[in-house]
């Protein structure tokens, strides 16, 4: 049964989504993705040189549970732009190919991947809760 009184995990997730222009919930980290779908999504974002926050859902199963309850989306990765769920790997890939993703991110389409920009440290929601 879910605890109605307070749900710090869900609040932390909501806060992270609200505070980051672009945030990706993924398996593993951008440097070491632990799933092919997460890796592909990271690669697309990196090719667009968009700074993004990343949350690894693997350290604590509750992250994924609460995230999916919040977003209504069952799978990982999940990309949010300006607080809105964009989709998982399939939708991100499709939108990248059509140019819609570039539009949503406010970047021009790039000819090809370029060297990565330094990124912010991955967010660790589970650390803030312990």
């Amino acid at each position: 049964m879910s605890d109605q009184a307070s749900n710090p995990m869900r609040e932390a997730i909501q806060e992270a989504i609200g505070q980051n222009h672009v945030i990706l919930f993924m398996k593993g980290t951008p440097e070491a993705p632990a799933c092919g779908f997460s890796a592909r999504t990271v690669a697309i974002l990196q090719s667009l040189e968009v700074p993004f926050a990343a949350v690894d859902v693997l350290p604590d199963p509750r992250i994924r549970q609460e995230l999916s309850a919040l977003s209504g989306w069952p799978t990982i990765p999940q990309l949010f732009i300006d607080g809105e769920l964009i989709g998982g790997c399939d939708i991100v890939t499709e939108m990248y190919q059509s140019g819609e993703l570039q539009q949503a991110l406010g970047v021009a389409a790039k000819a090809g991947p370029e060297p990565e920009q330094p990124q912010a440290e991955p967010l660790s929601i589970e650390n803030r809760l312990s």
């Binding site: 209504g72 989306w73 069952p74 799978t75 989709g87 998982g88 399939d90 939708i91 499709e94």
Partner: protein
């Protein structure tokens, strides 16, 4: 216990009125192209959710991964032409 593409296809087509699905997969990772009139006017997110809802908690569990491509019948779709569903006769 194991899942096969035919089961997923049948459940998608039963779960979304008028849907036609083409599913391939290896028992854990699946890829589906779904065409349904019900997708008209919906965002991709909403279209994919319609499909996900059929499987609920089985996704990520029994069905390890389901890669989706959704489209409205007749919509001119340039991307992924190779993955277009084969024309099938289906009376609905």
């Amino acid at each position: 216990m194991s899942v096969n593409p035919e089961e997923l296809k049948a459940r998608i087509e039963a779960g979304i009125p008028g849907a036609r699905a083409q599913v391939s997969g290896d028992g854990a990772h699946f890829s589906a192209v779904v065409e349904a009139p019900a997708f008209a006017g919906l965002s991709r997110i909403a279209q994919h959710k319609l499909v996900y809802e059929i499987f609920g908690a089985e996704l990520g569990d029994r069905i390890h991964a389901l890669s989706l491509k959704t489209q409205v019948p007749g919509a001119a779709e340039q991307v992924g032409a190779a993955a277009r569903p084969a024309q099938k006769e289906e009376a609905r």
